[in-house]
Symmetry: C2
Subunit: 321 residues, 2 copies
Amino acid sequence: MNTKLRKKYCGAVDVGGTKISSALFTSDGQISHREKITIDKSKPENSVRQVIEIIKGLEGSARSENGTILSVGIVIPGIVFQQRKTVWAPNIPGWEHFPLQKMIQEETRLPLVFDSDRSAYVLGEQWCGIARDMKDVVFLAVGTGIGAGIIVDGRLCRGSEDIAGAVGWFALDPQFKREYSLMGCFEAEASGNSVARKAIQHLKSGESSILNKVRGNIEQITAQDVFEAAQKKDPLSEKIIRATIEYLGMGIANIVSILNPQIVVLGGGLFQSARRLLNPVRKEVEKWAQPLSAQKVRIELTHLGEDAGLYGAGKLAWESG
Amino acid sequence: MNTKLRKKYCGAVDVGGTKISSALFTSDGQISHREKITIDKSKPENSVRQVIEIIKGLEGSARSENGTILSVGIVIPGIVFQQRKTVWAPNIPGWEHFPLQKMIQEETRLPLVFDSDRSAYVLGEQWCGIARDMKDVVFLAVGTGIGAGIIVDGRLCRGSEDIAGAVGWFALDPQFKREYSLMGCFEAEASGNSVARKAIQHLKSGESSILNKVRGNIEQITAQDVFEAAQKKDPLSEKIIRATIEYLGMGIANIVSILNPQIVVLGGGLFQSARRLLNPVRKEVEKWAQPLSAQKVRIELTHLGEDAGLYGAGKLAWESG
């Protein structure tokens, strides 16, 4: 068969904190051969080997339909240092100052492109999600931590050291607390982990709440538990959620005022368990942001959900060609 | 004389809140034929006429040395709406939804390019100031108000509605005050005007301070007065300056965390009268910003001072060619 007639694909590999997702994408964002496996965290080499095998598997899948892969986008849950060609992913043991790029490239002739999860989220939503065809887009991921992927005038904003979008460090309250120096003020006040942590702290200090009964051990309380208790009018949970909404509004307002984006897409674990935060958060943004920017910006939940990173990996690969 | 041998210039016109500066620039940033006049604010047409005459004067100056002007950059103290081709400059009567671009272009065949003062400041510093040859640069102007000019990966960040950089609206304190809805929280807490306003409010409420004696009318107290009193250990003034430093640090930290720039250049009236704020502000940034970005970023005072806008206008013109 003439190679010119062969179907053209790009590969996408989204390495998350616990799972690796992969797929083939056509140039118009059609997805096929999706797979998801659990990361082997026993040794750094094992997780790298998994990624290499996935890429070989994608090549096999493409070949099986007389197709060919042009390049592969690989997304990691952390920072990709593009100059130094290392990665930093705190949730994968050994992936610190880790030469992932070299280790994988040695095993395949395919062109590879690496980027951070937050860059991938915003690219994915712009390619096939709710921010389709927009030029000024921010994706705010609120889950375990808080980070943003940023597209300015059609191009990814990576920053001078590849760590742009670290909005979890937004200073939002002059009353400095100890946690702020570990994770940043915005993240300490509004991430999913922080919602749970605040509830646990209050319960330990003896506050009464229906949360005392939802788990055998109060240390196991989740943000989801707090949202559910707030819906049942539990005063402690309502107080925590009110504060979370306020800080989310302030943080998003700051993004809106500095970047004047067309859309801020909200994703990550927190919004999956609390879609009804959307309207109160929008109101809070309006209270704080530059008024014209606040009036024009759309604030929406992710359309791709957990697939945003995978789509972003596909787009990265297609863009690199 | 062969036109190919004629000296090539670009014109620069920096319309400020009270003065209009102008000059010719060579492609390597050499400046000549500088002038500065006071804006005639009696009628919108009069100020426009001034700009037109300045452009004609620049053409004459170029001709007088057998030179030619390729284009002219015009900077205004407000927002330039590039799509709608209007400007908004609150300090010049009548310049609201004002078709400045069309009015001036009708009077000259020279290619014109318009932009906001904050875009010009950052371009100027990148061209001929302290941010020379850097790709990720922010200029923070703190004077009457607060605004930022932003260069991301070598390109001006204007935002989807040309109002990116409105960092005066940064939310930095969950305790919402009435002023925040008029000018934004950061501007209400840290601009030069706000330093003066806070002092006046405290004095009116009866607080004792040496500030009571520096002016005939306490309403006339300036930020400069407050800085000088703080140096003399006036407790009220020291308190106000401490808070200003804290909010400046938080605001700059937010810029550093979201954009990961190489440099943040500080300019505007406040820093002219208080250069010694620089080190305390740097410390405060370190306390709040993403640690790696905070460690890498340079925080410096403007090298071009009041000329940053003029240089930016020159660069805009040279870039447009």
